[in-house]
Symmetry: C6
Subunit: 76 residues, 6 copies
């Protein structure tokens, strides 16, 4: 696959959260690389509260990693 992840460093906590979202989606994309199937699936779960909660959980796990990699965006 092409280069898509240069580093876990981000400038702000919000950018870190958005990186966590990207990581969650890439975890899906490696298993299902067909963009049409992916988009159809995303439409399906975007209206399904159970799947939305599950995908939010994956984001939460990745955010733990990204936040730690950035020392929680503190200057210490």
């Amino acid at each position: 696959m092409d280069n898509w992840l240069e580093s876990l460093k981000t400038n702000t906590a919000q950018e870190g959260f958005e990186l966590a979202i990207k990581l969650s989606r890439m975890g899906v994309k490696y298993t299902q690389p067909d963009m049409d199937v992916l988009k159809a699936g995303r439409k399906q779960y975007a209206d399904d509260p159970a799947l939305l909660i599950n995908s939010s959980q994956v984001v939460a796990i990745h955010f733990q990693t990204v936040a730690k990699a950035n020392n929680y965006w503190t200057s210490d």
Copy 2:
């Protein structure tokens, strides 16, 4: 998306818990940005014990991150 996350620092543990709830909801909102769909979905899972437990789990994962970022609100 607009600025919504300035920092992971909070003054108290309870505020940290409330930030964890916000992070959980934002994880959903990035996937489903339509507020009407979101509100309809929230009504649906608020009465469903299984979904309530799952969403409480996402909060728990984010709370781990926020608590660590705040050194567990201890003064040491």
Copy 3:
């Protein structure tokens, strides 16, 4: 919401476990603040092994946080 979480510090490991249970329930309560709906839901999942296991999992995640905040109740 009223003040309900003063600190993550507890005197003993068991009190820490009980705080983890409280945190799990509060994660639900923020989404469904209606006590009558909450109590009805709790009755429902208290007899459902799958939901009991899931709620025990949320407790386990919060217990990780509380245990760490208390340095695992060791004197070192």
Copy 4:
């Protein structure tokens, strides 16, 4: 509830694993304290592969906590 958790310290890794199992079960018992319902539920999920895997997951999360509290049973 009576005293049931004195400490997270155990002499061996296996005892730590067994403590993790106890913690998982106590997470259930706080929600459903009726021993008859608990035993009926346990019979139900003991024959259900999906629930067995889920309960094994809760054990895994608690084992992380117990292992860390014991510094992974290394002498360093």
Copy 5:
């Protein structure tokens, strides 16, 4: 139960992964000690993608513990 876990230390990362698999299975075995039921259940979930993914998740959680206990098999 007999002695089955001497230590979390392994010589290599792969042996650590295999220990994580053993821990996952033992988490099930403590709840369902009947080997015939266990083997029947394993046959059932070995053909079920959802259960295979869930069991892989338990392995992942235990692998975090084992990897940390071995300092990630680095010499530092």
Copy 6:
């Protein structure tokens, strides 16, 4: 099983993510070693949003481990 995991060290964060994917798949393969069943199952879940999200979650957990083993690919 043959040697398949030499080390958790990778040169880049993206290679670390790809190792996390490999670890997730190996967690499945140890339970279901028959490649034909595995491939049939993968086809099944690749079109199922719920299973895709679950498998992305396993990747996220392994990525935590790999990222930590590599000190988050920072030079410090």
